[in-house]
Amino acid sequence: MINRFNKYRYASPATFYRLAGRLIPWFYGAAALFCVAGLYIGLFLAPTDFQQSEAYRIIFIHVPAAWMSMFIYVVMACWAALGLAFNTRMSFMMASALAPTGAMLTFVSLWTGALWGKPTWGAWWVWDARLTSELILFFLYLGFMALQSAIDDPRRADRAGALIALVGVVNVPIIYFSVRWWNTLHQGASVSMTKAPSMASIMLVGMLVMALAAWMYTIAAALSRARCIILERERNAQWVAQMLEAEA
């Protein structure tokens, strides 16, 4: 069983399973550390904003979540492309493992965007280009997950999901451009969330540290989800039996 995958040692589910198991605690730890540091910078060190008072502190969550949500979709599409090109099962599993975390972070960025918008713009929801694109990204994540869960055959689910992820990633720039175009035509220049003129460098540092925390968390969550998927799919394989017996 294992011999067949010697060529792609790290692409073998068995190797990946063990390696991920060792790495996950470190990534969770790093995420917690960055999170504490980022929150300390964001809530205690960063000064009060001139225009937005304390409400701006939401961006320490909102911006990293929005960054990660987009980044994860691109990474997911890269895994999907790798899987379709080289037929490596691990790539497909990584793509499916990333999706729920990406969807969760997209939701976080929408939710915090609404809570930031209410005191700043006076409305929970504004059809701003960024918010609208983020909403569409959320739909893309949901479509990917719905398609995969509707297909029983894992091989077909992998490939179909990979294809829709690739189609999505090709469309994302077009969608973003069209939404921005629509937005400028209908309500003039939109208020930018991140480009506050008084952005102090300590605020930027706080955002970056929180982004690192989100990044580490995403890796940890995706790796542990991938491990679950491996166990479910490979439960008939020799190495799973050996591992479980060794642990018992």
């Binding site: 509707a150 179909a160 077009i174 969608i175 035509l185």
Partner: protein, 224 residues
């Protein structure tokens, strides 16, 4: 048999099948008309408001109608085994897939374009805007069939396929909706609609070149 012959044979077959099942074509058309007619009932008969919304409403209705018709694209050929036969033919899949999508557009897209001016008149669109509406639909509805074909191919034979297709395909339809409805808006407000229409044309060219490949990959995934 060369490629253009194959496409012609396929087109004739699809159109003949559509003629036999006229009910399906009419259902999609009526759906389009009914959805568009619901909006005035929902928002009130104020002519100023309706004139403002007209282009967008007709376009949203066209999007929903196009989505509704996707089920027919591959499902019956999949059920009776024709699809597998087509895959086995020496003709490159991209060729007959383009033919099938073209046929689907002729059957489900063109009727929408023909009826759209009537709906536009109901919403009080100007003559110029009506022309732009028809032209934007002419450029946009083929894109709906092309992109929709990817969703239809991926969901072949799945439970709850219809709802799933809408979740997959509607987000990808957004640029077409924006530029199509924007063109009508531009004509109504006098800002001009050339930019919207040329972007729509660009999307059509891009979709025409890329989607048949994606559909061919999707069909292989679904049938294997």
């Amino acid at each position: 048999m060369n490629m253009s012959q194959t496409v012609m044979v396929l087109l004739r077959r699809e159109l003949m099948l559509a003629m036999r099942r006229r009910g399906d074509v009419l259902t999609v058309l009526f759906f389009f008309v009914i959805v568009a007619s619901l909006f005035p009932l929902g928002v009130g008969p104020d002519p100023k408001l309706l004139r403002l919304m007209g282009g967008g409403v007709v376009w949203v209705s066209a999007l929903l109608a196009a989505m509704l018709s996707l089920g027919r694209l591959f499902a019956s050929d999949y059920a009776d085994g024709t699809l597998e036969q087509l895959i086995l033919t020496p003709t490159p899949p991209v060729v007959w897939i383009t033919g099938k999508i073209l046929a689907h557009w002729l059957v489900s897209g063109v009727p929408l374009i023909l009826v759209a001016p009537v709906l536009g008149v109901q919403f009080g669109l100007s003559n110029e805007a009506l022309g732009v509406l028809v032209f934007s639909l002419l450029l946009g509805t083929p894109v709906l069939s092309l992109i929709g074909a990817i969703g239809a191919a991926l969901t072949l034979g799945l439970r709850g396929g219809g709802v799933l297709v809408s979740l997959l395909v509607l987000p990808l339809y957004i640029p077409v909706l924006i530029f199509g409805a924007g063109a009508v808006d531009g004509a109504m407000s006098g800002l001009g609609s050339e930019a919207h229409l040329s972007l729509l044309g660009g999307i059509l060219i891009l979709a025409f070149m890329l989607t048949p490949w994606a559909v061919s990959a999707a069909l292989r995934i679904s049938i294997e």
